[in-house]
Amino acid sequence: MDPVEPIDATLGPAPLTGRRESPFRYYLRFVLSRPAGIFGLVMVSAVLIITIIAPWIIPYDPEKTFPGLILEPPSGAHWFGTDATGLDVFSRVIAATRTDIPVAFAATAASMAIGVILGVIAGYFGERRGLGGAVSEIIMRILDIFQAFPVFVLALVLVAAAGSGALNVGIAIAFVNAPIFARLIRGQILGLRRMPFVEAARCAGGTPLRVAFHNVMPNVISPAFVQASVTLGFAILLTAGLSFVGAGVAAPTPEWGLMVASGGRHIITGEWWPSVFPGLALGGTILGFAFLGEVMGQAINPLERR
C-alpha cells in the first residue's frame, strides 16, 4: 500500500526518518506546544537557575544555627521558619539545590556514558560469534545481575557497602541507572544494525568499533538524551530517598530528603514548615523533570504523538 507521505512530513522527525530542522529546535518547539512541556521546562529552568545563583540569594548560612529560634514559624526574617536545631529553612531549601542537583546531574551523566558505551557494544556485537559476541554476552549478563535487584534496594546496598556521602550516593545512582541506558541503546542498535547503511559503512572499510560508534551511535543518541531527562528526576528522588532513610547525605548538609525526614516528626505537633517546604521543592523539581521527559518522549515516539 502507499505510505501516506504527507502525514509523515508533518509529524516532524522520527529517529530514523531524519530531521527537518536541528534536533534542539525541534524538541524546543515540541515541548513548548504542550502545557505539560511548558510546565516542565519552566520548573527545570527555575531550579537550574536557583542552583547557579543559590550562594547569592540565600539570606543566611544554611549550616548556621540561631540558638534562640527553635521551630519558629515562617516570618519576615525567616520566610520558611526555622527547624528544630534553629537552622533557617528557606536558606537550606535553596542551598539544597547545590547538593541534589549536581549529584543528580553527575550521576545521570556518568550512567549515560557507561550505559551508552556498553549498549553500543552489546547491541552492535550482540548475538554474534567471536570475541565481540562474547563481550556483548558478558555485558548483558552483568546488566541482568544488576537489574535483578530492585532499583532502590540496589542503591541502598551500594551505599551501605561503600558508606554514605554525596559521592557514594552519586556512584550508586550511576550504577543503578546505567543498565537502563544500556538496554535502551542496545535495543535501538539491534533494530538498526541490519540496516543496509551499516553494511555500507563496513564496505567503506570502517573497523567494527568505528562503524559501531561513528556510524551507528549518532542514530540512537536522541532517545538516550530523552531518557536522561527522565533519569534526572529519578536521580533526585533517589538522592532524597536515600538520605531520607539515612543512607545518603548526612546532616547538617542541606538536602531535601534529609530535611523532610528530620522535619517530619514535628508535623504531628503542628510545626509543618521544616518538612513541607523542602518536600514541595523536591516534588516540584521531580515533577518538572518528569513532565519534560514525558513530553520529550512523546516528541521522539511517533506512537504517542497524537
Binding site: A148, P150, F152, V153, L156, A160, G241
Partner: protein
C-alpha cells in the same frame, strides 16, 4: 499503589491504539468483523510489552515500600532493611537483599512464562 498502575495503563492504551491502526486489525475490519473482536485482537497483541513493564514495576514497588514503611513506621520488610542499614547490621541487609532478589527473579521468570503462553513466535524459538 495506584501510582504504579498509571504507566501500565498508559502503555496499554498506547499499544492498543497503535494496534487498532495496524494492518492486521484493518484487515479484520474490512472482513466485516465486529468492533469488540477488533479491540480484543488489538489488546492481545499489545500484551507482551505491557507484561514486561508490569514485571519491572515490581522493583519500584519494593523501593516504594521501603520509603512508605519508614514514613508511617509500619513494621515491614522495608523498614527492617532501613534499620539494618543505619545499624550496619550486615546479616540483616544480606537477608533483605536475598529475599528481594529471589522474588525479583521469580517475577522475571513469571514474565517470561506469560510471554511464552501469549506469543507463538517465542514458542517457536
Amino acid at each position: 499503589m495506584f501510582v504504579y498502575g498509571a504507566p501500565i495503563l498508559k502503555m496499554t492504551r498506547a499499544n492498543v491504539t497503535k494496534n487498532l491502526d495496524s494492518e492486521f486489525v484493518q484487515q479484520v475490519k474490512s472482513a466485516g468483523v465486529g468492533e469488540r473482536t477488533q479491540l480484543w485482537i488489538a489488546f492481545k497483541n499489545s500484551l507482551p510489552p505491557v507484561i514486561t513493564l508490569a514485571g519491572i514495576t515490581y522493583g519500584f514497588v519494593i523501593g516504594g515500600a521501603v520509603l512508605v514503611e519508614t514514613i508511617f513506621s509500619w513494621g515491614g520488610l522495608g523498614q527492617y532493611a532501613v534499620l539494618a542499614i543505619s545499624n550496619s547490621d550486615f546479616n540483616a541487609i544480606q537477608g533483605f537483599v536475598l529475599v528481594a532478589t529471589v522474588v525479583s527473579i521469580f517475577i522475571f521468570l513469571l514474565v517470561d512464562v506469560v510471554h511464552y503462553v501469549v506469543d507463538p513466535r517465542i514458542r517457536a524459538t
